[in-house]
Every structure is written in structure tokens, then in C-alpha cells.
Symmetry: C2
Subunit: 633 residues, 2 copies
Amino acid sequence: MRKYTPVNFSDVKLEGEFWRERLETVLTHTIPSQYRKLVEFNMLDSLTVQHPVPPLTIPRSKKGSTTQIFWDSDIGKWIEAASYALSHRRDDAIEEQIDDITVQLEKTQAPSGYLNCWYLQREPENEWTNLRDNHELYNAGHMLEGAVAYFQATGRRRLLDVMEKYVDHIGDTFGTGDNQKPGYPGHQEIELALIKLYGVTKDKKHLDLATYFINQRGIQPHYFDIERDARGESPEAFHHATYEYNQSHIPVREQDKVVGHAVRAMYMYAAMADLASELSDDSLKSACETLWRDITETRMYITGGFGPSECNEGFTTNYDLPNDTAYAETCASVAMVFWAQRMLNIDLDGQYADILELALYNNSLAGLSRDGEHYFYDNKLDSDGTHSRWSWHHCPCCTMNASRLIASVAGYFYSTSDESLAIHLYGTSEADVSVGANSVTIKQVSDYPWSGQISVEVLLEKPIKFALKLRIPGWAKGATAQVNGEAIDARANLENGYLTIGRQWASGDIVRLDLPMPAERIYAHPYVKADLGRVALRRGPLVYCLEQHDNGTEPVSSLRLPQSADIRAVARDNLLGGIVTLQAEGVRIESSDWTRDLYRATPPLEIPATLTAVPYYVWCNRGPNPMQVWTRE
Amino acid sequence: MRKYTPVNFSDVKLEGEFWRERLETVLTHTIPSQYRKLVEFNMLDSLTVQHPVPPLTIPRSKKGSTTQIFWDSDIGKWIEAASYALSHRRDDAIEEQIDDITVQLEKTQAPSGYLNCWYLQREPENEWTNLRDNHELYNAGHMLEGAVAYFQATGRRRLLDVMEKYVDHIGDTFGTGDNQKPGYPGHQEIELALIKLYGVTKDKKHLDLATYFINQRGIQPHYFDIERDARGESPEAFHHATYEYNQSHIPVREQDKVVGHAVRAMYMYAAMADLASELSDDSLKSACETLWRDITETRMYITGGFGPSECNEGFTTNYDLPNDTAYAETCASVAMVFWAQRMLNIDLDGQYADILELALYNNSLAGLSRDGEHYFYDNKLDSDGTHSRWSWHHCPCCTMNASRLIASVAGYFYSTSDESLAIHLYGTSEADVSVGANSVTIKQVSDYPWSGQISVEVLLEKPIKFALKLRIPGWAKGATAQVNGEAIDARANLENGYLTIGRQWASGDIVRLDLPMPAERIYAHPYVKADLGRVALRRGPLVYCLEQHDNGTEPVSSLRLPQSADIRAVARDNLLGGIVTLQAEGVRIESSDWTRDLYRATPPLEIPATLTAVPYYVWCNRGPNPMQVWTRE
């Protein structure tokens, strides 16, 4: 069913300042520092079965669990990110680190193939007894993704062999056959990984196992009930009360609301989209489309974050999008990028690329600091100055999601079909792609996201015919285009958000695209209570915010941006590595005429004030300070 | 030091509709239903030592404690409220209930006099080992207040004897002498109770014990440290981290910020004000004045509630007054009424009466439903419709604070000195008071708080000279007054918020006071982030709110009240027992032109809408529904 195939990141060289800087930071600082953290926090030691069993490094929480049980996944995710780094440039040190991990895993792996380091070390008698809470399949999934990425980067398959053996054991253990457990993960993730493994092995059993996990989910009698009864636990002991938490409350094709834990949901939807393509399964595609509408029409922040609640790290009710308590986990919006890419490549519908870009440039990118070594787990849209980045976390899931996304971000730029080449993201870069049987080199020049002026040069060995599809973002009004200096009708040739230029291309042909990029005022649906009477600023793909640093000594919350105020884009080369700020002449409420009164009958005075906004993704890189995305209008 | 003495509630007959209805509801419904709850939840059974020890009715929380340990206080507070009811009209059933409790307490009391039912029943070996957390002195205080009230209502002193014996034991146990523990309560309350006991016994040892508890608080070495070390606990195990939580971080005279648990703070400040009077202690008075300024200038909701945070049930930082998560515990504002009354009677300064009235008519009254049997523990100023009243609570402290306050509310109307009679609160009522050696009967006629027109008739046996002091509330601008039809200069005779009419009074003299009562717009200090760009409505002493019930089907949050809109007071005799509503022609944001977009660049449309506001204290008496106090302007 999938019409388009993404061009692998290793075939795309990012040369523009924006992504080059992020990528270099991740390769040079983030990935090595993450390895140091794995050492410092004894996470690598947890791979080996030790006698006597060492005490827990992370204590159990009040709920009786410990995040230490998820460490296999964090190590797997680091291997994935580090392998992407190797695809950019080989590095003996990293390879040695991954090979050492491989040796440890080989030693720890049970003869059956089972390989969860926590259980093997601490409670081998309890293997596969609590899929609902204890993440064995989730851990396996991330380690498998790491193994696939390492194989793709280096051609070495020792880690992949270990994981294939584990996958075989999982395939034997789970299923609807006699002597099999009809189980599936409490935290979805392995489905995606198995589909990636299938991409490498082309062995249909891997695709079948992913399909089984998706199809079995939510079937009655409910596996998590069966498993819980076998453990002798009461239903009330389940902290999250309903299986909406892990999206197993009903079979996946019947689900029409995004519910529960946001990361679980996104990984599952991404796998569903993959399987819809691989299996040409319309019912899965249709379920994905319904869920997509639900999240984008009622449950997403303007920054591409979602899942407002800390309680379930996830979804609540329609239009419940508080700013100061927004959870909007970094992992969840990274996973949204995964899902959106999969939806996009089914039909090449620009609405998916718009959300991919939104989640990527805003909520996801905000998760990593400029120095590459500090992180946001939750991404608030309003802070009193107490919210700040941390250098590590007892649950470091978001750290490696940031690094693996950025290390492979070039993979979101292009897709091809037999007769088309689609460009989704813009920025100076060079890509070698195949369109059908032909090789095409694409050279993009653009200062995107700061500018909407884009030039695309096509380099060919010989002239060939194909359709070049240039994404016209939903935010871009009045886009214009030229081929070799000759204007083409951008509106007439627009198809589902893509400007389609079908022709015989000759080497050196140049397309120029101009996406007008004025600063825009954005308003939220009136049912979003937190945003009533407020306005947000967006320019191109970037959502902006007001940081206290740029806005004087009176609280940013006292600023107001009247509807009549002009908004100017002002490039600031020396600020935060070079950004475009937005400035406007607004007003602020004056506090100096308030003496001892906490309340009074006289309206507050307003005085003129200049508002300066910076892109949301760079906030909190100059120390914690008050910030807001939504400003009173 | 105290210049004025409050007139006891039993000498004041409330005949106006407003308070008569509340009082009747409390006497007829609340107090009997509270007794039924004490039975239903096995609270009365907890007074008796049983073998074997019955299982806990209320399980221990995650922190290891249980609210069941506070039950003596709840029973004591019910006795106090029920005794006030007896002062209004004798009731054999209630007296029998209290006498039965007395018999149980006599049986349970240890030979030493010690009488904490929890410890005697469950862990006698641990008496007085954890004053910081376990409320023994707090429980003793409430039971003592109950005993004093029952003695005052009936003249029976059997319960008072039990409690005096316990107080003697407490006096022997605590102090700075040899063989005494230099301790004091973790939850202040007994100080107030001991001062009330002193009022009955005139035995200075009771005043001395209260003074000791106040003076010893926060002295180094810190008693809670000593006690904790004796228990072998680590400092980190203290959930609230610092002793600010219970206001023992520094000695009370050095405290200049309201911090920690709000109810603890208020009970302590009230006792400090009492002692400032009783002992003519300027340093205590001065500390109270500093703390008063702090709370009223930076940390109080417009409704007279305070303590925004659920975490510590108390104070956070200056101007931190969120509406949707406001804790603003009912108990705390009831206790503010106690503190304010004590401050008021030291100097007769109207600022204290203003806050007394504010806390009474708004946050405190909101705590009890119209039917008298449902309660708010926390009093939000903004609700999405999920916040609602409960019929009982695992920690029922607020229920009996509501009933004991309303059952004795007439005691806040008048004070006298040797040469003056002050009227603080208005409403049709008749009071028999003594001014110096003379008896005076005061007949007030007023539809307050719905109307500001007040008539006060003075009835005397013979003409006498004294100063009649009529409170002019801070909100009343342009008050006018007449004596026997002749205008007097209300402004020239205003002294600290009281209109002073000194003259030879003859029986039948009539004073008319007119307090203009327009609906007013109120604004919060710009540092109160939650209220920026918003306006609240107040009329007379009542703060208003918008309930969804009165404002159509679109969310109340979408309403806006432009500064130009007129606000009309509209009496609605058939609504909620007869109230004055406020109405205005404002606008609301239209949602019908939003189709599938969650965000858009087009500003929302506004359409005309009528806003109808009701007094805050009656909200949520027609089922849970969205509500807001602060509306966008």
C-alpha cells in the first residue's frame, strides 16, 4: 500500500547551518556524554548477572516499581543513536563500546534465548509474568532496534544474532497456538522493531510476530486479566485503573480516541501505520486516520506536544491543554515524528508532513539543550521560572530519543516512488536517491527554517522523466515557484500539499521555491480554556515564546500583544547561535502604581512595552527563567 | 491591652433572613447529621479501649499515617458545635449524646490524666513521642474547646473536669522545668483552647501553659529534632522537609512571613493575638501585625481563602494564587475569622473587620451546602465542573469548623468597651449588651448583605452616654448616616473604619446608616499571574462568580466582560433561597465557526452574551458545574 519510501539518512548530507549544528552537537557531545552517563549510573553493569545481586541503584518508588527495570531499553536506544553516528563517520571507540555490550549480552543470554537483564539477574522465576507493567517486550524492542541500526551502520551482525535468537524465543513464547501465551507488550515498541528487523531479514516470521502483537491487543478474555489473576493480584492494585492506559482496552481497529500513556500510543500507531502499508490493511489505515484526526483536532499543543497530564504521562480529555502543567513528553513528540512519517509515505498527504515538521522543530527539538547535554522530559508552554533542563533523569528515555532522532533527521527529508521524488523538509543538503531505476542527485540550498527561499538543483547522468514533488507547508500562503527561471503555477499544480512538477529533467535544472514566511498570530479553539483571549506567534515551522531574558524585569505574564501590533522578524546572528526573533510594540500592565493593595477597584494601568519572542525550541538555554507561548491579546 | 470584648453569641438573636436560614440549617440539619456520621464511620467507637484492638477504619496512607489519629479532635469539635446549638435551644438528645461521650472518655482516661484515645488504644508505649506529626496536643485542644462550650451552654462540668485533669497532666509533662519535656504541638490549637479555659476558670496556670507553648515554639535546640533523634528517625524522613510547615522554624516573634500549613498558622496567630491582649505583650501584637500585612498584601484570594497548595495544605510564595488548583481550605478561612476577631478587638481597627467579613461571607460560607449536609474542603475559584461537594471526608475537620462557626456567628456582630458599643456586622437582630455598668438593647433592621440600608434602634432603661461605633466597611464608598432623622457627617466622624457617634442616648433613638452597595469590578495585583487581564465582581461583602447553570451552554470560560459594560444588581427571590444576582451585557467567543481546526490564524469571533453572576458562597448547590470567579475583561 505504501506509495513512497523514505530516503535513508545516510544518503543525505545536511550542510545547512541549522541542522548541521544540531547534528554536530549530537555526534560530538550528546552521544559520548550519554555513554558516560551509562557508565556513571552503573547502567552498563546491569547487563551482567552478578553474585551476590547488587543493591538497586534506583530505589523502588511508592508504587513498588523501579525505573531500573527499563535499563535494557535505554542501552538499546543509545546503541541505536550511536550506530547512526557511525553512519555519519566511523569511530573505533564507539564500536568497541557496542562490541563490549554485545559480549556482555551474549554471556547473560539464557540458553532459551531469553534476554532481559533485570529478570535474569534479580527474579528469573518471574520471567513473562507481568507484561502489563514490567516492560520485557519493550526492552527487547529497543535493544533490537539498536542491533538493527548497528548492523546497518557496520555490517557486523553479532549483536543482531543475539537479538534474533531472543526474537525467536519471543516468537515461540507468544501466540495463539498451544503452549503459547496469548500475550503482548504492556508498553508497545517491539512491534516497530520487528518491522525494522523484517526490513533487514525479509523473513516474514518477523512481520508476522509484529502483526500478531497488534492484532492480539485488547482481545477478550484480556491477557492482562489472565496474567494478573495468575499473579494473585486484585484488579484494584492496577494503579492506572483501566487498560486505556496502555491502549489495550479494546482491539486496535476499534480505537477512535487517543487515550492513555502518550508514548505507548505513538509507538503503537506508528507500528499500525507500518503494518497498514506492509499488509495493505485498509482497516489499520482507517483506524490510524481516525486516531490522527482525534489527536490533531482536539488533543495537541501548538508546539506539537501532547499528553498534558503527568499522572498517566498521557492523554486526558478533549481540549484539555493547560500550559503551565503541560507534560508533553519529549519522547511522545519524537514518536509522533515516527508515526507521521509512516502516514505520510502511505499517500503523500501533506497534513502528515505538517505535523511531522511541527513536532520535530518545536516540542522534539526543545528536548535537547544547545550544549547537547541537558534535557527536557516534559515541555511546558508556560513556566514561572522553576522549570529547567536536567543533565540526567532516573528515567532517561527522552535523552536517547532526542539523540536518535537528530542523528537520523536527514531521513525525514526525502521520499521516492518509482516515478516521483518528494521533498518534505527544507535546508541546504545534498542527497543521492533512486527514482525507479535511475540515480538522481538533489542539491538543496536554503536557509530554512529562517527563510522560505529554496533552490533545488537536479543532477543527473542523463535526462529522465519523473515528478518532483515539493511540499508546500500548510502554513505557507501564496507560495511561488520557478523552473529554470520560468514561473509555474504553484496553486494549479498543488496536490495534497505537494507542488508537483512532472517533466523531463536535465542535469542542472534548478527549481526555485519561495514560501512566504511572515510572522503569524495563531489562536486556539475556544474550548482550550488556557488559551482563551491569548495569541501565539509562529513563523514558518517555528512556534515562538517570550522568555523573561529578552523582556525586561517585569514578568512576561504582564505583557500583552494587541491585535493591531505589527510583528517584525529580526535576525539576531549573535543570539543563541543565530536565530530570527520576533518583535512587536505591545503593552504591559504596570505594577509600580500598586502599593500595598492585593486587590483594588481601579483598573490596572498599561504602558508601552516591546515584546521579543524567540523560537520555542531554544528556550531555557540561558538558565531557567519565566517563559510563555501564549500571550494575552 | 484589649480595648473591646465581643458580645457572646447567646446574647444576640439573629432574625434576618440571611443568617437565620444558615443558622436554622446548621441547627436542624448539619449538627444532627454530623453526629450520624460520627456513628456511621465508627468514630465514636474509637473513644473506648477495646480488646482485641479493632482494625483501622481508615487505612494508613503511603506516608504511613492515618487521619484516624485525629478523631478525638473531630469529636471535640462536634461537641463544641452541638453545645452552641444548645445555647440556642436546649435539646435532650444532644445532651445525652455528649454525656455518653463523656462517660466513655472518663473510662478511657489514664490514671495520670492522659487522654488520647488513639494512643491509649493502639500504642500506649508511644505517648508524647511524636508531637511533630501525631496531633496529641491538637486533639486535646479541640476536646477542651468542646468541654468549655458544653459547660458554658449547660453549666454541667463533668466533661470539663475530665479535660481539666488532662490539662493538668499536660502542664506537668511540658515545660522547661526538670523532668519536663520542652515540647509543644506540631499542630497548634491547644493554645486557643487553654485561653478559653482560662476565661472560665480564671486560673492563671491555664494562661501560663498557653503562653509557654507559644514562647517555646521554635527555640533551639529544636524540640522536634530532639524528639526525632529519640525515635531514631532520619531528618530526611520528615515529609515536609522544613519546620516552616508547622511554623516552628524560628520563634514566633521573629516570624514575618505566613508559611506552611495554613490552618496551623491561623490557629497560632489567633492564640498570639489573644496572648498579646491578655498579657499586654507588644512584641506578640507587633508580630501579628507583620504577619497580617504579609497575608493580606501578598497571599490571600479575593474570596478570603488562602493557602493555595494541596501539597502542604498551605502557603507557597508571594502572589502565587492559582484559581483552578486553589486549595484555600475551609478550616483556614474559618480560623482567619477567629484571628481577625482577636486583632479587631485589640484596637478596633476596621481593616480586621473587613477581612473577618470577607472570609466569613465568602470562602468560609462556601464550605457548607444549602442543605447543610455537604461540604467543600478546598475552595477553588475556577472549576471545569469536576470539583464538587462531598457528604463526608476521611479528614472531616472542615465539616465541624463550618458548623461551629455558623452556630456562633452572632458572636461576631458586636463588641463593647466601658464607654463604647461597636457594631461590626449588619443584619436584622436584637442584642442585649452591657456598656460599662449599663444594659443596652440594640435592635438592628437590615436586609444585609443584599442591601446596605441599616437601621439601629437603641433601647435603654434610662438615658446614658456612650459612643456607638458603626463599622463602615472598606468597600463602602460615600456612606451616609442619620440620628433620629438628622444627618451626621459620616466622613468627619470616621475613625479607623468606624463611624463614631458619641452622645447621650435615649431609648428609642434610631440611627440610619446607608452603605452604598453598587456592583464593583475588582482587579488583582499584576503579579497574580492567574488573574491578569481578568476582573472579579463584588457587591458589598459578597464576591461573585459565574456558574455554568446561569450562563447558557457555551463554557463560562469563553465569556468576557468588557470594561464598558454596565453591571446590574437583580434580585432573584426564587433562586437559591433568594439572592441578588449581577447581570451584564458582555460577549463570548463563538465556537460554531471552528470546524476541525484546533489552531488557526483567524482571530476568534465574539458575539454578545449576557453574563449572570451569583454569590460565590452559593456556588455548586445545583450540582457540579463549571464556575469562575475571575472573568476575562
